[in-house]
C-alpha cells in the first residue's frame, strides 16, 4: 500500500532518487497489541476487584495477597504501565516506522523491549501482591524491578533514536517529538525518583526523606501522568487521528507552541499534590501557577486534534473508531481543565484526599487513554490483518457501553467526594465536628461506591466485547510479519546541513534529532531543578524540631509492615492546617516531623482517617494497644460491622525477619539517620525489649501474641506516629518521663 513517492514526495530534494526497498516490522506491533489487550483486561479486573473491596470488604478474602492495599497498586501499575504502556509501544512502533519511512533500528532491541516489558509487568504483579513495595505511588516497584525498567526503557530509547537516525524522511514529525520528550522525561523521572538504598533482596529505602521525598515523588507522580499518560498518547493522536480521518493536521504552528509549552510547564506542577501540606509555601505556589498555566498548552493538543477532524465530522457518526478517538480527545480536554482547577488551593482544600481525585484520573484513564487505545486497536488490527473489522456494531456497542461506564464510574465519585469533604469540614452550632466519627462519612457514600462498581463493570464489559471482536477479526485475517515498503534513500549530508536561509529554526532542529532530544531534556529538566535545589540546599525550608528522634528498631519494622500492607493507600499521614482537621486529628503536620521518614508516607487518599497523630496522647486518634490489635485483626468487630477496612489477621501470626533488622538500621545510618555508631548490633535486643512491653500489655488483656510479631511492630509504629512534636527535646526527656501506655522508651 505504500506507493512509490519519488514523484510527489516533497522531501525528494533531500533524496538521491534511488528507491530503497525495505519492510515494516508488523510483528512487533502485533505483539504489543496483544499485550495491551491482555493486560488491559487484567488491569481492569484488578480495578474492578479494588472497587468491589471498597464497597464490600468481604472481597479482600482475608488474605494478605488480595487485600486492597496490595490490589490497588497492582491495578494502577497494570493500567498505567501494562495496558497503556504496551498501547504506547504498539502505536509508537507502528507510527515511528511509517513517519520515518524505515524499519525499526534493530529487531533484537524491539524484541528485548517487548519481552523485557512483559517480564517487568509479570514481576511487578507478583512482587506487589507479595507486599514488596516502596510505597511511592506509581513507583511502588522495588529496586530490582526498577533496574529492569531502566534497562528496558533505555533499550526502547536506543531503538527509537536509532530508527530516527536512519530515517528516510528529512524532518521528524510532531508525533516523534512527543515520543522523544516522553522518553527523555520518563528516563529522568524514573532514575531520580527510584534513587533508593537496597537493604535486602526486595527492600530498599528512598534516599530522600520527608518533605524532600514528597516533592521528588510528586514531581515523578504527576509527570508519570504527564509523560506516560499524556505526551506519548498525544504522539499517537498526531499519527492516528489525521491518518484515520484522512485530514491534514490543523496547525503546524500550534503543534510547535503547544509541544514545547506543554513539556516545559508540565514538569513544574508536581507540588499541586502537596497543597496545604508540609511543603514550603513557595514550592506549593509554583505548583499552583504552573498547573494553571498548563491549561492552554494542554488544550492546544485537544484543539489540534479536534480541528483536524474538520471536514470529517460526518464520518464520526458512522465510525466507531472515530467516535472513540473524539471522546478520548474530549476527555483529555476535560481532565486537563479539571486538573488545573484542582490545583487551585481553595479547590484543593475540598478535593484532596477524597474520591474527586479518583474520578478525575478515571476521566483521563478510561476516557483519554483507554478510548484512544481502543480506537487505535479497532483501526490497526483490521489494517494489519488485511481484513475488515469483524463487527462494526459490536465496536459501536463497546463505545456506548464504555461511555456509559465512564459516566457511571465518575459521576458517583464526584458526588461522593463532595458529600464526604463537606461532612469532614462541617461544624455543628457548638463548633464541634458535625461528623466526629470518620466512619459515618464513609458509610454515607457507600451507595456511591456500589454505583462505581457498576460503572467499572460496564467499562470492562465493553473491553471484553472488544476482545471478541478483535479475536474474530484476527481469525479472519492474516498479518504478515513484514510489510513491504519502499522509499527513496536520504542523503545524510542534506539532513545535517547547516540552517538554510529562510528555514525556520524549528524546521532546522526537526532534522537534527540529537539536538532535538537534548533540547527536550533541557526543557523538562528545568522545573525539577528549580524546585529541588532550594528545598534541598536551604535549611530554613525544613525547620528542625529538636524533639523529633529516629524510630526505634521495632517501630522501623512496624513502618515496613505499614508500607508492605499498603496502609498508606487509604490512610494519610498529613494533618492540613484547617480547623476541621486539627479538631479531628490534632496539631497540623510540620515539615520537621518527617526528617527520618525514608520514604515519606503522607498518602494521597483518606479512605480511612488520617494517622499522622495516631500515637500522640493529645490527639483523639490515639488508641490503646488493645484497640489497635483488635481493630487490625478484625475492623468490623470494632465498628459494629460498618468499617470497610480489610482485616489483617495474618499480622498476628507473621514473625518479623529479625535477621534483616541490622541491615535496615545500617541502611538508615547511611542515609543520615542519627543512630549511635554500632547501634545495628544492639537493635534486635532493643526491638525484643520494646516488643515484650507491648506483648505484656496485651497479655494483661487476654491477648497472647509474640513480642516479635508483625502486629506488635505495627502497633509500636502507630503508637509512635506524630508523638515527638509534643514531647520535650532529648535533654529534657529524662526528667519528663510520662508513664501512660508509653511503649517506646
Amino acid at each position: 500500500m505504500q506507493t512509490d513517492k519519488t514523484n510527489q514526495d516533497p522531501t525528494a530534494v533531500a533524496n538521491d532518487g534511488l528507491v530503497e526497498h525495505f519492510a515494516y516490522d508488523n510483528k512487533i506491533v502485533k505483539y504489543f497489541a496483544y499485550a495491551t489487550i491482555f493486560w488491559g483486561i487484567v488491569g481492569m479486573l484488578a480495578g474492578l476487584l479494588a472497587a468491589l473491596q471498597l464497597a464490600f470488604p468481604v472481597f479482600n478474602f482475608e488474605l494478605a495477597y488480595t487485600s486492597f492495599g496490595r490490589v490497588r497498586p497492582v491495578h494502577t501499575n497494570a493500567i498505567i504501565f501494562a495496558f497503556v504502556g504496551n498501547g504506547i509501544f504498539m502505536g509508537a512502533y507502528y507510527s515511528l516506522q511509517r513517519v520515518l519511512q524505515t524499519r525499526m533500528f534493530n529487531d533484537k532491541l524491539s524484541l528485548l523491549n517487548f519481552w523485557g516489558w512483559q517480564l517487568i509487568i509479570a514481576t511487578a504483579a507478583v512482587t506487589l501482591l507479595m507486599g514488596f513495595t516502596t510505597s511511592k505511588e506509581y513507583a511502588e516497584l522495588e529496586w530490582p524491578v526498577d533496574i529492569m525498567i531502566a534497562v528496558v526503557w533505555i533499550t526502547f530509547g536506543w531503538n527509537m533514536l536509532g530508527t530516527i537516525i536512519k530515517r528516510r524522511v528529512k524532518h521528524i514529525y510532531v508525533a516523534v517529538w512527543f515520543y522523544i520528550a516522553t522518553w527523555v522525561a520518563i528516563t529522568m523521572l524514573h532514575v531520580v525518583n527510584s534513587l533508593e538504598l537496597p537493604v535486602g533482596p526486595f527492600k530498599s529505602y528512598s534516599v530522600f526523606a520527608g518533605v524532600q521525598d514528597a516533592l521528588v515523588q510528586w514531581w515523578y507522580g504527576h509527570n508519570a501522568v504527564g509523560f506516560f499518560l499524556t505526551t506519548p498518547i498525544l504522539g499517537l493522536m498526531y499519527y492516528f487521528l489525521p491518518k484515520i480521518a484522512n485530514r491534514p493536521v490543523y496547525s503546524y504552528k500550534l503543534s510547535i507552541v503547544h509541544f514545547w509549552a506543554l513539556i516545559f510547564i508540565y514538569i513544574w506542577t508536581g507540588p499541586h499534590h502537596l497543597l496545604y501540606q508540609s511543603l514550603p509555601d513557595w514550592a506549593q505556589s509554583l505548583g499552583v501557577v504552573f498547573s494553571v498555566m498548563l491549561i492552554a498548552p494542554s488544550w492546544g493538543g485537544m484543539v489540534n486534534g479536534l480541528a483536524t477532524l474538520r471536514g470529517a465530522w460526518d464520518r464520526v457518526r458512522d465510525s466507531a473508531v472515530l467516535k472513540f478517538i473524539v471522546v478520548a480527545v474530549t476527555a483529555y480536554g476535560m481532565s486537563t481543565f479539571e486538573g488545573p482547577m484542582l490545583s487551585i488551593k481553595s479547590v484543593n482544600a475540598l478535593s484532596h484526599f477524597t474520591d474527586w481525585t479518583i474520578a478525575h484520573v478515571h476521566i483521563g484513564g478510561m476516557g483519554w487513554n483507554g478510548f484512544m487505545i481502543f480506537g487505535i486497536l479497532y483501526w490497526l488490527i483490521p489494517k494489519m490483518f488485511n481484513t475488515n473489522l469483524y463487527s462494526e456494531k459490536l465496536a459501536s456497542f463497546h463505545f456506548w457501553i464504555g461511555t456509559l461506564g465512564i459516566l457511571l464510574y465518575a459521576v458517583p465519585l464526584y458526588w461522593a467526594a463532595f458529600t464526604q469533604t463537606l461532612m469532614w469540614k462541617d461544624f455543628n452550632e457548638l463548633g464541634k465536628l458535625a461528623n466526629p466519627i470518620f466512619l459515618d462519612t464513609v458509610t454515607q457514600i457507600l451507595p456511591l461506591y456500589h454505583t462505581r462498581v457498576l460503572g467499572g463493570l460496564l467499562y470492562l464489559t465493553g473491553a471484553v466485547v472488544m476482545v471478541v471482536n478483535i479475536w474474530k477479526t484476527i481469525a479472519a485475517g492474516n498479518c504478515p510479519d513484514d510489510e513491504p515498503a519502499s522509499a527513496p534513500a536520504l542523503r545524510p549530508l542534506v539532513v545535517a546541513a547547516a540552517k538554510a536561509e529562510g528555514e525556520s529554526y524549528h524546521r532546522f532542529i526537526e532534522r537534527r534529532p540529537v539536538q532535538f532530544t537534548i533540547l527536550s531534556l533541557v526543557a523538562v529538566a528545568i522545573g525539577g531543578i528549580v524546585e529541588f535545589v532550594p528545598l534541598f540546599a536551604i535549611q530554613s525550608n525544613v525547620p528542625t524540631i529538636a524533639s523529633v528522634r529516629p524510630y526505634t528498631p521495632l517501630e522501623l519494622e512496624g513502618r515496613d509492615v505499614y508500607v508492605s500492607e499498603g496502609c498508606n493507600t487509604c490512610h494519610s499521614q498529613q494533618v492540613r492546617p484547617f480547623r476541621s482537621e486539627t479538631e479531628r486529628y490534632g496539631e497540623y503536620s510540620k515539615a520537621g516531623e518527617f526528617v527520618y521518614d525514608h520514604p515519606f508516607l503522607w498518602g494521597s487518599k483518606r479512605t480511612g482517617p488520617d494517622l499522622a497523630r495516631s500515637g500522640n496522647p493529645n490527639s483523639l486518634m490515639k488508641k490503646t494497644n488493645f484497640w489497635q490489635y483488635k481493630h487490625l485483626v478484625n475492623p468490623q468487630e470494632m465498628t459494629n460491622g460498618q468499617s470497610i477496612m480489610p482485616p489483617y489477621p495474618w499480622l498476628a501470626e507473621n514473625e518479623l525477619d529479625l535477621d534483616a533488622t541490622p541491615a535496615k538500621i545500617r541502611g538508615m545510618m547511611t542515609l543520615g539517620v542519627p543512630y549511635a555508631e554500632g547501634y545495628d548490633t544492639q537493635a534486635v535486643d532493643d526491638l525484643r525489649k520494646q516488643g515484650q512491653e507491648i506483648a505484656a500489655d496485651l497479655r494483661g488483656q487476654n491477648i497472647e501474641v509474640s513480642a516479635t510479631s508483625e502486629i506488635v511492630a505495627l502497633i509500636a509504629y502507630l503508637q509512635r506516629l506524630g508523638r515527638d512534636i509534643s514531647e520535650a527535646a532529648p535533654e529534657a526527656q529524662a526528667s519528663a518521663a510520662e508513664g501512660q501506655d508509653d511503649s517506646s522508651k
Binding site: 463548633g431 486539627t582 496522647p617
Partner: protein, 234 residues
Amino acid sequence: MASKVKPTFHVQEQYDSKLITDHEYDGIMELDNDLPPWLMWLFYGTMFFGAFYWVHFHTFGIGPSQAEEYALESEAYEKTYNVANDNAFNESAVALYTDQARVAAGKEHYLKAGCNTCHGGAGEGIVGPNLTDAYWIHGGSPSDVFKMLKYGNLAKGMPSYSGQFSDEQIVELASYLQTFQGTQPANPKAAEGELYSGAAPAQAPAATDSATEAETPADSLAPAQEPAAEPAQG
C-alpha cells in the same frame, strides 16, 4: 472499511488555509493555520494569573501564608463559636436520658464505637469491666461515667471518646449503659472496683446528689447551666 490513505490533500478549497507543501509524513500533511487567538489569550491570561499570584503571595507577601491562614481561620472559629461558652456543659452535674430514642441512640454509639469488644454486647465485661453490676472502678455516678467516656483512661486501656462523640452523644451513651444495671447477662465478669450505692436499679434515671437538680429537662442536654470553671478543650 476503506481507510486507505491517498494524498488527497491537494483539494485545498475545503480548508481555510494552505497545506504546507513540504510537510508530508506517511501521507499526513499539515496546514499552516495560525494559533487560535482565544487559546493564546487564554495562555497569556494564565501567565498573568501566575505572575499576579506569585507577586501577591511571595514578592510582596500580601496574601497570607499557609500558617497565617490557619491562624485567621482559628480566630474566626473562636469568634463564631465562642469556645469558652461551649465548655459550659456541667460535667459534674450530668443528667441521664430516659427517653427511649436517646437510649437507643446510645446503643448505636455503643456498637459503633466498638464498646462491645471490651465490655461485651450485654455489658457483661470481657477485657473491660462488667457494666451490669453496681461496682465501678472509677466511680459510678453519671458524672463519673460521663467523664470516663469522654476523657478515658489510657493507662487502663480506656480510650477517650470526646473526639468521636459530642457531649450530648456521650450522655446518650451513658444513658444506654445505665440500662445494663441489674441485668443478668451470660458469662458475667467478676465485679471490680467499689460499690456505687447511688446506682438505681435498671431503667430508672440515676439519681445522684448533683444530678438530681440538673435532671429537670430530661430530654435536652442543657449546656446552659452554670458555666464550668475549666474549659476542657484539647
